[in-house]
Symmetry: C2
Subunit: 325 residues, 2 copies
């Protein structure tokens, strides 16, 4: 399996380490970063990449200014697209993915931006060029959401979807409930141990959950929902008192994404909801994630877990390739 | 898609009803029962089957003594094998499946017997004849166990598996815990509402769970474990007092199947175990089922649910076909 990688941040580096560790039969022909990259038509020795992991410029094959256009005809089976996410334009990832697909090269991406902006267009482009497109990593990474719905619910109709898909906000809510602390204290804890970002806006205000629900929904319902179509309420206004009251009654507040049908239209909303112990996502605590597919003839199918580090995200990229080939 | 069905009990009938209800593009060319069957080379009108559902002998195409040998060259894509289970010999299902595979016909079965006895042989036969073999229905029916491990964990190594896979014993344990009744009372309740069979031995003594764990384990670990290799303890000796004590400490007793490695050997055991609230199978109550895959690079992936009626089992047959084609 010949691959090329574009984007060499946390997940990209973890992917190369994982290929070495698990001895996957992947031959890396190029790695492109924003300022250049390394390339070798016959494949790059993996140890030579790992040695220069944090300083790819030092690699013997480094070529300043190297871009995807320069290397796309390098006879790869898969382009792994892991560049930074832009939720407004999907760029530059959208153009990278299109370039590969137009050349008949299959793509696996871990990037929510392009899939959010134009999944339908990318899917059509893939079909037109007899290429494959893997997006499993973009929704929950190691948690098999796309796979769970597509394969686990095959033959049935998915009626609605519920998901706890944002580890940061779920951690904060668990912390508030378990330690009886305020939102600010829980957020601070999450930031101090590297779970929440310095600017946690996208996570705690529900946008990350919304984006993941949109990707899932457009995938399963062939809809074209965008961020502005989604009702979003985050968790930053939830008081310690409310959390405690819900806890005393045996419930938990979770930031839930929901896809449902209203007047024959597919809708998505994201908001804090009270889950009781009977709910199959009740046990999804702290950094954990979970998804529930409600189907017509297979009943409810709930999937929980999937670890959330960069190695696990990289493993979900490998899972996509394994399932597509 | 041209199919033939052998075995026309609860799931077989539900399958035909489901094909009608969901308008699946399946053309039924024959249905074989133990004493004969119906056959039509161009396909049988589905309404004509449904009208005679409980009396197939009245169908215009009924042919007494018709057997699989008579119809196997009828140009079908899939044989759906749903005859009664025999856990000791796998017969007659084993011979039916072999006959189809030898003729290059793919098979989907809901029958644990032949898969328990000779999955490896059947898989090899399928490969030799360029045919496919679907066994998803045999472990948990609507709960996507095989799919969850094969697709949801693709690229990772499964290290161990834990499963709550028997609805009857799980219902009894839930009933004992929730209503503080004895094993006998809970069993009686389960029998009175049609959950437990008159002879519940296979379910409550752990054999059904063991068989499902063997099928999963031989599938995922390429092992050849048989029933006599499995340590099995059932639930019939669990007292009300023990259940209550565990409940008071916040736990639940579940009949758990476990696949694990000991001295580099794959082992299976089935026994009642105490699960605490942190365990992702803790919420699997009553007739519900669940499975947990512990993997090396994707973390823990838990799948819960999948409704447990005959329609849901039939839907899992359709899922297998959908995923195989």
């Amino acid at each position: 399996m010949n691959i090329g990688i574009i984007g060499y941040g946390g997940v990209g580096k973890a992917l190369v380490r994982l290929i070495k560790k698990k001895k996957y039969d992947f031959n890396i022909k190029f790695i492109i970063k924003s300022d250049g990259g390394i390339v070798c038509k016959s494949g790059i020795n993996i140890d030579s990449i790992l040695i220069n992991e944090d300083n790819l410029q030092r690699h013997e094959f480094w070529s300043k200014g190297l871009s995807l256009e320069n290397v796309i005809d390098n006879d790869i089976d898969y382009l792994i697209e892991l560049t930074p996410t832009n939720k407004d334009t999907g760029e530059p990832a959208l153009s990278f993915i299109k370039l590969a697909l137009k050349n008949g090269i299959s793509v696996v991406t871990g990037n929510k931006g392009p899939v959010l902006i134009d999944y339908k267009g990318l899917k059509r482009l893939a079909e037109e060029n007899n290429a494959k497109l893997g997006i499993g990593c973009t929704v929950g990474a190691a948690l098999p959401t796309i796979e769970g719905g597509a394969v686990g619910c095959a033959g049935a109709d998915i009626l609605c979807i519920e998901g706890i898909l944002n580890g940061t906000s779920n951690f904060i809510l668990s912390e508030m409930s378990e330690k009886a602390v305020s939102y600010e204290e829980a957020l601070h804890k999450a930031q101090s141990i590297g779970i929440a970002e310095t600017n946690p806006y996208m996570d705690v205000e529900g946008y990350d959950t919304a984006i993941k629900m949109i990707i899932l929904t457009n995938y399963f319902f062939d809809s074209q929902i965008t961020l502005k179509d989604v009702d979003i309420v985050g968790i930053s206004n939830i008081s310690k008192e409310v959390i405690n009251r819900v806890k005393d009654s045996g419930g938990k507040i979770k930031l839930l994404g929901k896809t449902y049908r209203e007047n024959n239209e597919i809708k998505i909303k994201v908001s804090p909801e009270i889950l009781n112990v009977e709910h199959s996502l009740y046990s999804v605590d702290r950094k954990n994630k979970g998804i529930l597919f409600n189907t017509d003839v297979l009943g409810n199918i709930t999937i929980i877990g999937g670890a959330s580090g960069v190695e696990n995200a990289a493993a979900s990229i490998v899972r996509d390739i394994t399932n597509l080939k």
